[in-house]
């Protein structure tokens, strides 16, 4: 499964990502993203949008791990 990662220096806590993808991205008390372990396959589309919509381009989606499950 893919993971979503944040560059902590680029991130300035806009929080748009958490609005789009609350199942995967929560905000800490200061407005900065806490990311879940992995992105469920059915949410990958939304995850890609979250990456694109970040004003500081702080997010990225990792490639899926090379496992039999991923190749399905």
């Amino acid at each position: 499964m893919r993971r979503i990662e944040v560059d902590p220096i680029a991130c300035t806590g806009h929080g748009v990502c958490a609005e789009l993808l609350p199942e995967v991205i929560q905000l800490d008390e200061w407005g900065f993203p806490i990311l879940a372990e992995s992105v469920p396959v059915h949410l990958e589309g939304l995850a890609r949008r979250a990456v694109g919509v970040c004003p500081t381009l702080a997010l990225r989606l990792t490639r899926p791990a090379a496992s039999p499950a991923a190749r399905r």
């Binding site: 560059d7 902590p8 220096i9 806590g13 800490d28 008390e29 200061w30 900065f32």
Partner: protein
């Protein structure tokens, strides 16, 4: 009054073993080039031939030398990574010593500058570096003068092949971090960078860069002379050779001590004549951890043994808390310092550290409200591991260890009651 005496550096001492600290005595003088050569012998000539360069790296590898800046990464691995890359490399000698409790690097450099400069020359040639930057904190002019004088002596009498430039770097807690140093040398701020490439791939001037702590370089200077087998003649298999430590706080003889690897914490505390009623010790500096002395005294001051107690050596620091001092209050002060030292680049650190510093302060003052310990623990989880460097992680680990080692005091303060230490001292007076 000279700049140096105004600074009053701590006394360097070799209570337990003399290798790096050879020739150090009570008058605290800088060992000049002639004295240095008499003490340690001539600098081995490692010519710029592949065989002798690799031989030094092999010796460093066989010696099992690990970095003395705090991360304890295998030095030979770093050297090989830089040496393997094409193009001329850069060596950065890291003398920033960001940990406020640490004295070892400044004392080493001020007493035995030629050991460090020898190490710079040997390591630079071994990794193919044609430039070296010796980085010092901006305000430490007394140290800069000593180093400049030592370099001048060498230029006059020696054949160092790699020019060394002394650089004065803005002195913040994070400046001493590897990527921060490279960032600054490249014309940016002295703040850590998160994105690749790592310095060994592309660092200063986009060249492969070896960043090494001053003490690590001094060990290389001796390994280059005497070899790996000699290095391993002291210390343990797991922690070979010697290391410098700074002992401070409630001790009658604070200063820099050179110890053999595997020396127990209790032995070092005793050598510094720690107060008999000191109850707790901060191991590793501001980013280290607090431990009851009774629980940790029997542990060797090594990476593997300290890991068993949830601690890490850091740059070799022991700070004994005075009996009657409040560990919670000390921790609040340290957190305030760390919060001020944040580069201010990453939200969880920039906002989280001041928040927990305030929490600890209120707790120490007995002013905390609404489950302060629960709130602290929740914040710890939100801060650790979420920055670009290890500053927030270190701060959280130190604060967590305080809540554990001073648990009774924390509970008392949470109920606005005085801590046990204060009550004890009151009873004694």
């Amino acid at each position: 009054m000279t700049a140096r005496s105004a600074q009053r550096p701590a006394r360097g001492r070799s209570g337990l073993i003399r290798r790096l600290t050879g020739g150090w005595n009570a008058d605290e003088r800088t060992i000049g080039l002639a004295g240095h050569t008499r003490l340690h012998g001539e600098l081995p000539a490692i010519r710029n031939r592949q065989a002798s360069r690799l031989d030094l790296i092999e010796q460093v590898n066989a010696a099992g030398l690990t970095g003395r800046g705090g991360a304890a990464f295998p030095t030979a691995t770093k050297m090989r990574a830089v040496a393997a890359r094409r193009g001329s490399a850069v060596l950065v000698a890291n003398g920033l010593e960001g940990e406020p409790l640490s004295r070892k690097d400044q004392i080493l450099l001020s007493r035995s500058p030629h050991l460090v400069l020898d190490g710079i020359e040997l390591a630079a040639v071994a990794v193919g570096a044609t430039t070296a930057h010796l980085c010092l904190p901006q305000h430490r002019t007394w140290l800069e003068e000593i180093v400049t004088e030592a370099i001048a002596q060498r230029q006059h009498e020696r054949a160092d092949t790699v020019p060394v430039e002394v650089r004065q770097v803005p002195d913040r807690y994070v400046s001493s971090e590897e990527t921060a140093l490279v960032h600054w040398l490249n014309g940016g701020l002295a703040t850590p960078t998160a994105t690749p490439p790592r310095p060994f791939e592309r660092g200063v001037g986009r060249r492969p860069t070896l960043v090494a702590n001053l003490e690590t370089l001094a060990h290389i200077a001796l390994i280059g002379r005497h070899g790996a087998t000699w290095f391993r003649e002291t210390g343990t298999a797991d922690a070979p050779g010697t290391m410098l430590t700074t002992v401070a706080g409630a001790v009658a003889e604070p200063g820099v001590y050179e110890i053999a690897g595997g020396t127990k914490i209790g032995t070092l505390l005793a050598a510094a004549r720690t107060h008999s009623r000191a109850g707790a010790v901060l191991v590793g500096g501001y980013s280290g951890s607090w431990h009851p002395i009774s629980q940790i005294a029997s542990l060797p001051y090594t990476k593997s043994q300290l890991a068993r107690a949830g601690a890490a050596p850091g740059p070799g620091i022991l700070f004994a808390l005075a009996p009657g001092a409040c560990g919670i209050a000390e921790t609040a002060r340290i957190l305030r310092y760390l919060a001020d030292g944040s580069a201010g680049q990453c939200g969880p650190c920039m906002f989280g550290l001041p928040a927990i510093a305030r929490d600890l302060s209120e707790l120490a003052d007995g002013r905390a409200t609404d489950d302060p310990l629960g709130r602290l623990r929740r914040r710890f989880r939100q801060i650790a591991g979420r920055g670009a460097c290890r500053l927030p992680d270190g701060a959280v680990r130190m604060a967590e260890s305080a809540l554990s080692s001073f648990a009774a005091d924390a509970r008392a303060h949470a109920r606005s009651l005085p801590c046990l230490a204060a009550r004890d001292e009151e009873a004694r007076s």
